[in-house]
Amino acid sequence: MKVAQLSLNELRALLVGPGLRVKAGPFNLSIRTRLPSLIRQLHSLYSRYSLVEEDEIVEFHVQVIPRRSVRRPFARLIQFEVDGRFPFPPVPLEQALATLEWGVNLVIAARINHFLLFHSAAVERNGHVLLLPAWPGSGKTTLSAMLMYHGYRLFSDEFGLMEPQSGEFYPLPRLMPLKNQSIEVVRNRLPEAMLGPEIPGTLKGTVVHICPTQASIEQSDETARPRWIVFPKWSAGAAVRLEPLPQSEAFLLLATNAFNYEVLGKTAFNAVTNLVRGCECRKLVYSDFDEALAVLNALTDG
C-alpha cells in the first residue's frame, strides 16, 4: 500500500498517533508529528512511498515536535527527536521538513554499520551502478535529480550503501534537497518533477525538496553492482571533460569521504579496494547538463 492511498485524515491519524510507518530503501521508518503544515507536506511528498508491511520491524523512530523557547516566547519553533534525543537545536517551524529529512540521514549515518556508507550519489543504468561521490561543490544532488529524469534509476543523492562482503549496492531513494541556484535550474529543466515548498534560511541556504520518481521508489528493493565511479565537478563555463582517475586517488577520495570507513576498519579497506579495482574511475568537469549527460551515457552504454 502506498501513502497516496491514504486520505489526509488517515495520514494525520497515523502521524499524530502510532506513527507513519514507511519504507526507505532497506530501512523502515516511523514518523510522528502533530504539525499541520508538515502533515500536509508529507501527504504529497511521501505519496509515492510504500507503507511498511504489517508486523515488519521498523529501525528508526523519529518525531518532529513543537518547541517553546523561554528566550523567544513568540517564535514558533520545532525540533527533531529520535529515541528521546535531540541531535539538532530547535529551528523555525518552516524548516520542519528539511530538519526531518536531515535528521533521518543523520540517524542512518550514526547507526548503520552493516553497510559501508559512502558519501556519494548513486544511480543505475543498464543494470549497473554509477557512483557520483561528493566532491566539494560537485552539485551531486542536482546532477542525480537530472539523471533520474534521463534514463537513470536513482539510488540516492547522499548515501552509497554498499554491503561490504558482496560489494552489492542498495537503493535508498529519499527526498533530495536542492539548494539555492540549483532550484531554478531544476524548475526550468524538470517541470514534471514533484517539488516541495521553498524553505528559506536553513544552514545550507534555501532548500526545495524533489521527490524521487515513482519508478526509482518502486524498484528500491533491486540492488545492483557498481561499475563506474565518476567524481563530478560543476564549474561555470567549463567545457565538458571526462578524464581517467588513478585508482589510488579514487580510493583515497572514497575512503576519506565515507561516513563509517574508520568504524569498519579492515572490512572497509578491503571493500573499497575491491570496489575501486572493479570499477572504471573518472573525473567529470562540466557546466552544461546536456553535455555531461552525453558523456555519461557514452560511458554507461556498454
Binding site: 502510532p18 515488519e56 520491524i57 529501525e59 523512530h61 528521546g84 548503520i112 554499520n113 552493516h114
Partner: protein, 376 residues
C-alpha cells in the same frame, strides 16, 4: 516485596530484563517484541552487550534480519570504540615516557584489559585513570605537553572540577577525540561518603605483561557499586548494574568458595556497605542474580528501612529505560528524586543549592554562562 513488584513492573521493563537474563530465548521473539527491545536496549546502551551475547551464542543468524543488522551495527561500533580507547591508553603511556607514574585503569577499559564477560560489546568512549594526588600535576602536564587539551571550560566548571570533584577536567587529544578522565579519588571530596583512595591504590594489581594496573576484583566491584549508587544519578544506568552482576558472577565462578566473603570483608573494611547493599539487592531484584540474601546481612553498614523502601520504589524506575512512546510521570518523579539524592550525597547543601541554581539558569539560558569558555 520482590514478588509484588514483579507484577506491577511495566511490560517493556520485563521485555528488556528477560532479554538480559535469558539471551537464548531471543530467537523466539516476534518482530513486535524485537522492535521495542531494540529501542529499549539502545536507550540503555545495552545493544552492543546483547549483540555480543547473541554473536557468542551463534544466534545472530537465527533472529529477524533487521534486528540482526542493527545489533551487528552496534557491535561494530562498540568494537571500534574499544579499539580507540585502547589506543588512547597506549598513547598516554607513551606520553608519560617512562616517568614513574603508576596508572590504575578504571571502568570500561579495565574490564577490557581483563577480558571480563561484560566487556564484550560494551559501549564506552572514555579512558578513566586513577593516580595519586601527587602524580596529578605530572600526568596533566605530560599530556598537555604532548598535545592533549582541556575541553573549553567556563571558570565555573573549572572550579567545580578542581575543588569539588574527584577528577580534573577531561583531557582530549584533538586528533583522536577520546576523553581521558584522570581521577585522584573515587568519589567527590565534598561528598558525605569519604572514600580514601589509598587502600584501593595499594591493592591494585598489575595487568599481565603491561606496566599498568587495575583495581583488584573486590575493589572493582565496590567501585562499580559506588559509581552507581553514590556518584551517578541512576537514570538509564541499568548497564552499570549489568556490569556489577556480570563481574560478580564471574569472580564467584573463579574463586567459588572465598570471593563473596572477601567482598563483604572488603566492603566492611572500607565502610562501603551501603552501595554494595543496593548493588546486590537490585542485581537480585532486576537481573535475577543468584547471590543469597544472607550476603548483605553480613554488611556492617546497611541503608535504613525508609531509605530502602524509597530506593526499592525509585531505583527500578530510573535504571530501566522509559517506554519510548509512553513515558511515565512516575518514572520522571523517581528520576528527579534520585537526581537530587545523588547531588545531596556529593555536596553539602550550601554548595548544592547554588550549583543546582546555576545549572538551572544554564538550562534556560544556554551559552550565557558567567564567563566565556576558553581553551587552556
Amino acid at each position: 516485596m520482590a514478588d509484588c513488584e514483579k507484577n506491577i513492573r511495566a511490560e517493556h521493563h520485563q521485555l528488556l530484563l528477560e532479554a538480559i537474563a535469558q539471551p537464548a530465548d531471543l530467537v523466539n521473539y516476534n518482530n513486535q517484541q524485537w522492535e521495542l527491545l531494540l529501542r529499549l536496549a539502545r536507550r540503555a546502551q545495552l545493544s552492543g552487550y546483547l549483540a555480543a551475547r547473541l554473536e557468542k551464542g551463534g544466534m545472530l543468524g537465527s533472529i529477524p534480519l533487521r534486528a540482526a543488522n542493527l545489533l551487528h551495527s552496534s557491535l561494530i561500533q562498540a568494537k571500534k570504540q574499544q579499539q580507540s580507547v585502547n589506543w588512547e591508553l597506549n598513547r598516554v603511556i607513551w606520553a608519560l615516557d617512562g616517568r614513574e607514574v603508576p596508572l590504575i585503569v578504571l571502568k570500561g577499559m579495565a574490564y577490557l584489559l581483563l577480558d571480563l564477560p561484560n566487556a564484550a560489546g560494551r559501549i564506552f568512549a572514555d579512558l578513566d585513570l586513577l593516580v595519586s594526588k601527587e602524580d596529578l600535576n605530572q600526568i596533566e602536564s605530560s599530556l598537555l605537553e604532548k598535545g592533549w587539551q582541556h575541553h573549553a571550560l567556563t571558570d565555573y566548571d573549572e572550579r567545580y572540577y578542581r575543588e569539588w570533584s574527584h577528577e580534573i577536567p577531561a583531557l582530549v587529544h584533538p586528533e583522536r577525540g577520546v576523553e581521558v578522565d584522570v581521577h585522584h579519588t573515587l568519589s567527590s571530596p565534598l561528598g558525605k561518603l569519604k572514600i580514601d583512595p589509598l587502600p584501593f591504590r595499594k591493592a591494585a594489581v598489575r595487568v599481565q605483561g603491561k606496566d599498568i594496573y587495575v583495581l583488584n576484583p573486590e575493589d572493582m566491584l565496590l567501585h562499580c557499586a559506588v559509581n552507581l549508587f553514590q556518584n551517578n544519578e541512576l537514570a538509564d544506568d541499568l548497564r552499570h548494574l549489568v556490569d556489577f552482576n556480570e563481574m560478580l558472577q564471574f569472580f564467584i565462578y573463579r574463586q567459588p568458595d572465598v570471593f563473596q566473603q572477601k567482598l563483604i570483608e572488603r566492603a566492611n573494611q572500607l565502610e562501603l556497605g551501603n552501595p554494595l547493599f543496593y548493588s546486590l539487592y537490585f542485581s537480585r531484584l532486576l537481573l535475577r542474580s543468584p547471590v543469597s540474601t544472607d550476603l548483605e546481612q553480613q554488611l556492617d553498614r546497611k541503608p535504613g528501612w525508609i531509605a530502602r523502601h524509597v530506593m526499592h520504589y525509585c531505583v527500578p524506575l530510573a535504571l530501566l529505560p522509559q517506554h519510548p512512546d509512553q513515558p511515565s510521570k512516575r518514572a520522571v518523579l523517581a528520576r528527579l528524586v534520585l537526581y537530587l539524592r545523588s547531588h545531596w550525597l556529593r555536596m553539602p547543601l550550601y554548595r548544592l543549592l547554588p550549583h543546582l541554581t546555576y545549572k538551572f539558569y544554564l538550562s534556560v539560558f544556554p551559552g550565557r554562562s558567567t564567563d566565556t569558555g576558553h581553551n587552556r
